[in-house]
Homo-oligomer: 146 residues x 2
């Protein structure tokens, strides 16, 4: 099992970051505009991109502290993996410790997803700090795989 | 042992990407302006940033194909780790498969470095495609750890 790990800092309160992770409007502002579903614990969120998408079951949502999803539909490599956002305050930042855990193999698609997650987490930071993220379909193009 | 993995695509030839990985001017254009040393196999490259830096021994340099470094000086977590750039052509892109291999533990600093590597690899892409990268000290700030 291998994991993707990231760390960003957002100059905003943990509550502001938490809201961007637990509301359909917030999520649509940084990951993909085509987002819907139920962001409450036990609910399923539906994220769609031009080539496909992901359904996430919300396993945990602790205000200002943590959000955990399980991938319940999507590409085979993602099925059953978990995505965690841990929040903490440090200096003037809310630190987001991100992990996408449980990949079976370090395949080329995992390399791609690691880099894409970085650009989407920067989109989350930009959304909260400036009011404007870069969600799909306006996301940063990193390669032929988009 | 845990690894950082990334994948980007650069719309340029493998030779152009290789040059940006194996010349002091190329490296200074996307990672840190304070770069010097010997980029040939067996040589040591010296990369400096405001808070410190890294010395890399060049283990492999296959034109248009691969570059491998070993960290011989720098932060304790980096010592002995290896950094690989594998190049291949796909569509109109040179794909860079990047790995930073051999971290002992998935510490918070590794989360940070994963996200920073993504921004530096986008800097490499921008340097080659537009002539302008974002090397330190003008690199993208991602958090309180810079």
């Amino acid at each position: 099992m291998v994991d993707i790990l990231h760390r960003i800092g957002v100059t905003a309160s943990p509550d502001a970051v938490y809201a961007a992770l637990t509301t359909v409007d917030g999520l649509a502002g940084w990951w993909t505009q085509d987002t819907d579903g139920n962001p409450e614990v036990g609910g399923v969120l539906r994220f769609r991109f031009e080539p496909g998408g992901f359904d996430m079951k919300v396993l945990e949502a602790q205000p200002g502290e943590r959000v955990v999803w399980e991938v319940v539909d999507g590409p085979e490599e993602w099925l059953g993996t978990r995505i965690r956002f841990l929040l903490k305050q440090e200096d003037d930042y809310t630190i987001v410790l991100f992990s996408h855990e449980g990949w079976k193999e370090p395949v080329e698609f995992m390399h791609h997803c690691t880099t894409k997650w970085a650009t989407f987490l920067m989109s989350l930071k930009n959304l909260i700090e400036t009011g404007k993220g870069e969600p799909a379909p306006h996301d940063v193009r990193i390669s032929n795989w988009h």
